[in-house]
């Protein structure tokens, strides 16, 4: 009996053990997800992010499933048109909303959002080794591109995913060479080349577009002036300084005399089209808009184009630079998950993949831009576009931060006034001095109305 019992017992145990083991195996096979999910800290999290539509995000979207598989979270990325996104994000952030876990920190709004405390301090994430491994290297981001995302104390509120470095594209070097003209290196030479080429073979000397508060400041600074007296500390507008007036006159004359008719209403793609088809010889704008003359399939001037530094002014050599960043709203519900996404999206690996697999070169990681692979891909007709891009993008962080005018929250107000004043000069409604005097008064009044103490 004992034996039987014993045998029964052992048989029973064995059966139970087998049953348990079998059930566990079947269970694991039938429902593997919860077991795997337990290894993923963000499993079940839906991460909501928003940005304006840009090729970077379109490309990134094809990689997002990999990120979702790695982390277990689901990414809901809402992409809208540039003005639509800015409107919606501005409203969401300024009303203290928590609809988004990460947002694009648009360059022109960055200073406003940072100063108003609408974004989370990312130093808290990069400073924690549990959240950010050493190999992520925050300092690898080009310093000039990071300037807009810092507050007065130097804390970081965004990491840049795209950089724009102002360069000069020349589409008809063949015409220039025929006339014995060299690439202009100064404002004076720029005017000479424009004058010499304009009208030759139906080509205009240069082309530009309607965003004057982006195109014009390098000329103002080149003549020794600035938008504000000494930004970011002294933000008294300096629109009617002799240097600013001289620059407005100079740039207005360029457009009046050597640009296509209607250039004041041109959008960026109209201007780019004029350059790509060789209808205009010179276009000075962000590298992403200029380099297509060498790299785009639509370009009809690949063999006759050059991309170089924009000319220097008689006093300073300050080509504009900007960047777009990713940040986390102060009231985001899933801050750690959002940081996980930003870390991944702006990692050296993803940045390099974007360059190698899609030719998306306007990334902001120095190590990527300086890599051999990047150099190979971005050297066209012997022109090292990457070196040029990096040089210009990094300039605002070297010595005087000349792009500081654009990082103060009052810039959009003054920029709007500057746009209107320039149009008055370029259309001949007012002489430069009168227009800029009026603009100075208007800018001060508008800033005061907006609550700025001057």
């Amino acid at each position: 009996m004992t034996k039987k019992n014993s045998s029964d017992k052992s048989a029973g145990l064995s059966r139970r053990t087998l049953l348990r083991a079998g059930a566990a195996t079947i269970g694991a096979a039938a429902f593997p997800m919860p077991v795997i999910a337990q290894t993923k800290p963000f499993a079940g999290v839906t991460l909501r992010g928003a940005s304006f539509q840009h090729r970077f995000f379109t490309l990134l979207q094809s990689y997002i499933p990999e990120f979702e598989a790695q982390t277990g979270m689901k990414v809901d990325l809402q992409l809208s048109a540039f003005p639509v996104y800015n409107q919606q994000a501005n409203l969401e952030l300024s009303s203290g909303g928590s609809a988004f876990d990460f947002v694009n920190v648009t360059f022109i709004l960055a200073a406003r959002w940072v100063a108003a405390g609408l974004l989370a301090n990312l130093d808290e994430f990069t400073g924690d080794p549990n959240l950010t491994p050493a190999e992520w290297k925050p300092k690898d981001f080009v310093e000039g591109a990071q300037v807009p995302y810092r507050d007065a104390k130097g804390a970081t509120y965004g990491y840049s995913w795209e950089g724009g470095a102002m360069v000069m594209g020349l589409s008809r070097m063949d015409l220039m060479e025929k006339k014995g003209l060299k690439i202009p290196k100064t404002f004076a030479e720029l005017q000479e080349v424009c004058a010499a080429i304009n009208g030759t073979d139906g080509v205009t000397g240069l082309v530009s577009f309607q965003l004057h508060h982006w195109c014009l400041p390098p000329y103002i600074q080149g003549f020794g002036g600035n938008i504000f007296r000494n930004p970011p500390t002294d933000i008294m507008p300096a629109l009617n300084s002799p240097e600013a007036v001289q620059a407005v006159e100079f740039y207005a004359n360029l457009l009046k005399n050597y640009a296509p008719k209607g250039v004041l209403t041109y959008t960026e793609d109209q201007a780019r089209q004029a350059l790509l088809t060789g209808r205009s010889n010179i276009f000075i704008h962000s590298s992403a808009w200029i380099t297509p003359i060498l790299m785009s399939g639509d370009s009809k001037v690949k063999d006759t184009s050059r991309v170089v530094r924009m000319p220097a002014g008689p006093v300073r050599d300050f080509p504009a630079a900007n960047s777009q960043g990713l940040g986390i709203p102060k009231n985001a519900k899933n801050k750690k998950a959002a940081w996980e996404f930003i870390k991944w999206a702006l990692s050296p690996e993803i940045s390099m993949r974007l360059v190698k697999e899609h030719g998306h070169s306007s990334v902001c990681r120095r190590s990527v831009i300086e890599s051999e692979e990047y150099r190979k891909l971005n050297t066209v007709n012997g022109q090292d576009l990457g070196a040029l891009y990096l040089e210009v993008l990094g300039l605002p962080a070297k010595g005087e931060n000349y792009m500081a005018y654009r990082t103060v929250k009052e810039f959009p107000i003054v920029g709007d006034v500057l746009n209107k004043a320039f149009e008055q000069v370029a259309t001949g409604q007012l002489p430069a001095q009168a227009a800029m005097n009026a603009a100075q008064e208007q800018a001060i009044a508008n800033m005061r109305r907006a609550g700025t103490a001057l």
Binding site: H54, R55, A81, F82, P83, Q88, A99, G262, A288
Partner: protein
């Protein structure tokens, strides 16, 4: 002799009339025709200056339009405009009838109060709506849009429908009541058929308001309830505007209103002119 004089005069008058009609048509239709011809051009052709008027048309813009999120936005627009129009009519028509038959002292004050929401510009209501909707979870929903459009269309329905009801003789209703009809039957079977042109005209105006709205849709929607006008703006990308798609989207956005207006044209004309020659 008189025929000899009146003939040229008549012809000259006809020519003048034709010229006037032609000029008016050109002025009225040129924005629409310009948009339409753009929608059949490639981006390169659209950006050419001077613009080519003779070109090989392409359907590429329309085809690419239906590959993205535009169809969903189009359906969102249809739903929000249709439901809000229907809701405004269901609530507003009986209200207008009641007001038209009310002879009490407070009638004008109530009528005026109803109109108050139409007096302020929409921007004044947008932010309160945004904050309230976020609180109750109606942001980025078609339901949210329907309620906003209804709240704006309701006063319009009430004010537009009142004069139509006032043209229906009360004696007709009294006769029906004497014959044993209930108030509901009187309203639905006697009064309503007589104000059909008014309802059609009002419906068109309500639909137009909701269909063409951009501002509320911009602020109160994201991606789920995005409407067609906002979707068209979404072709203005950071890296360049997709002119062809903007034109194709714009042309398509006009289509439902055009079809709806043509369908109820008979009622629309009589509805909008009703009362014009009455004292």
């Amino acid at each position: 002799m008189s025929d000899g004089i009146s003939g040229p005069i008549r012809r000259s008058a006809s020519v003048r009339r034709l010229v006037a009609i032609g000029v008016t048509l050109i002025v009225l239709l040129s924005p629409f025709l310009w948009l339409l011809q753009m929608s059949f051009k490639s981006n390169d052709l659209i950006l050419q200056f001077p613009p080519p008027l003779i070109f090989t048309p392409t359907l590429q813009n329309y085809a690419s339009l239906w590959q993205g999120a535009f169809p969903v936005s189009f359906v969102n627009s249809l739903m929000s405009a249709s439901f809000s129009t229907a809701l405004a009519l269901v609530l507003g028509v009986p209200a207008a009838y009641a007001l038209s038959r009310w002879a009490g002292r407070g009638k004008h004050a109530v009528s005026f109060a109803i109109l108050v929401t139409r007096m302020a510009p929409p921007i004044a209501f947008t932010i309160p709506f945004f904050l309230f909707y976020r609180w109750i979870g109606l942001l980025d929903t078609v339901t949210g849009l329907v309620l906003v459009y209804t709240s704006f269309n309701l006063p319009l329905v009430i004010w537009m429908m009142q004069p139509f009801f006032e043209t229906v003789p009360p004696s007709l209703e009294e006769a029906a009541l004497v014959d044993g009809a209930s108030t509901r039957v009187v309203f639905l079977q006697i009064v309503l058929p007589m104000v059909t042109p008014g309802i059609a005209a009002t419906a068109i105006l309500c639909f137009l308001y909701a269909w063409n709205d951009f501002f509320f849709a911009l602020i109160l929607t994201r991606t789920n309830a995005r409407t067609a006008p906002v979707a068209v703006v979404n072709f203005m990308n950071y890296e360049g505007w997709e002119w062809g798609k903007i034109a194709a989207g714009g042309s398509l956005v006009m289509a439902p209103v055009l079809i709806f207006s043509l369908a109820v044209r008979r009622y629309l004309v009589s509805g909008l002119t009703a009362g014009a020659v009455k004292g």
